[in-house]
Symmetry: C2
Subunit: 222 residues, 2 copies
């Protein structure tokens, strides 16, 4: 069986899980705490990071974007990146925006401080870091609002990997109850449409031990 090594609150892992689901590909999840630097895991990915996907025939794939591009090429039904080169470039620009910038500005601060630091045994969250993440998120929700006012989905008419990358980040932050939804109705409408996709349901059912999500997290009405 195809296997995805992942960590439940890793946005890059959620991105790959959503892509697999959208393509209706079966897989099993192998939970990893990558910072434990398990030697067997380092053989799979010298970067020591999740996600890592292992195909049925043993092919090992690392790096979330390399994995998603691979899935779109190897299983071309239900394409996730777009059709013409210019539109595909826009999808990829936005994927990078969320994978890199949203992650560095927001998710890394909030999930990093509130969850990963604790799991690593590195002590208590720093309130200055959390405040920075909470400050930055507003700018990012403005950008999601801006895009979703102009386009049906973030990268254009069709649902794409840009929506997946964005919602993977946002779901991790929403798990912490840290999204000020009331101030961003357009972003909320877009995320409500994502949440109602069947592919998103299993992801919303995940729980991190000792850290239950807020009530609204899995609700379609939030």
């Amino acid at each position: 069986m195809r296997r995805l090594y992942h960590f439940a609150l890793s946005p890059h892992c959620r991105k790959v899980r959503l892509a697999l689901k959208e393509k209706a590909l079966d897989f099993e999840l192998a939970p990893i705490e990558p910072w434990a630097a398990d030697p067997d895991f380092l053989v799979l990915n010298p970067a020591g990071e999740v996600p890592v996907l292992v195909e049925d025939d043993g092919t090992v794939l690392a790096e979330s974007q390399a994995i998603c591009e691979y899935l779109d090429e190897a299983y071309p039904d239900r394409p996730l990146i777009g059709f013409d080169p210019v539109h595909r470039a826009e999808t990829r620009r936005l994927v990078a925006w969320f994978d890199l910038r949203f992650h560095a500005d927001v998710t890394n601060y909030l999930v990093g401080e509130k969850v990963i630091k604790r799991l690593k045994g590195e002590g208590y969250p720093e309130s200055a870091v959390i405040r920075a993440g909470q400050h930055n998120i507003r700018y990012h929700l403005d950008y999601v609002s801006f895009l979703s006012e102009r386009r049906n989905w973030l990268a254009g008419e069709e649902f794409s990997l840009a929506d997946i990358a964005a919602s993977a980040q946002i779901a991790c932050v929403d798990y912490l109850g840290a999204i000020p939804w009331d101030d961003f109705p357009l972003a909320r409408d877009w995320y409500a449409r994502i949440k109602s996709r069947p592919t998103f349901r299993s992801l919303l059912a995940d729980q991190v031990r000792g850290l239950p999500p807020p009530k609204h997290y899995a609700d379609l009405d939030f």
Copy 2:
């Protein structure tokens, strides 16, 4: 004329320049200091980062990997990513390794402290940061050596975007004279083959004002 907004010692810009050259596409360079946050430039890329490519018809493309994927799709002669999906995934894994990890571990520390800090008027380099970059580089040159002992080029038999992404980072660091070549003969052999490619020559001719590169920088024999 196709135009690339760039900064001379930005590895992500060098990656796109090399891809354009390998594809024999004409372009002019528009130098930008992205941290100046010029409003006209922010219209082109809300991320405020170089590289940004503007095609003849006005199409604007941002994010180095989105640009390179676009170039490979729009100008399919001399493909740079590979052929079958698994091999393409390996190329992309390595591209991300150099774009993200080598950059964060090495280039960002060295070019960031020694060049960009000065251009931004943020004071003198911190020696602890420089030492961290110099320490990390050894691990990365080991990995380049490991790959080039096993493969003709970094991602496999063919020269690819992985070689481009790696040499783009390394050239920026080598400009500062910070690569311990003598300790890494296999990495040196691989880089000598890169340097002898005609596509690499114009890049090696670039100079940053007030900061000439060391003698060996543009030499084929180093």
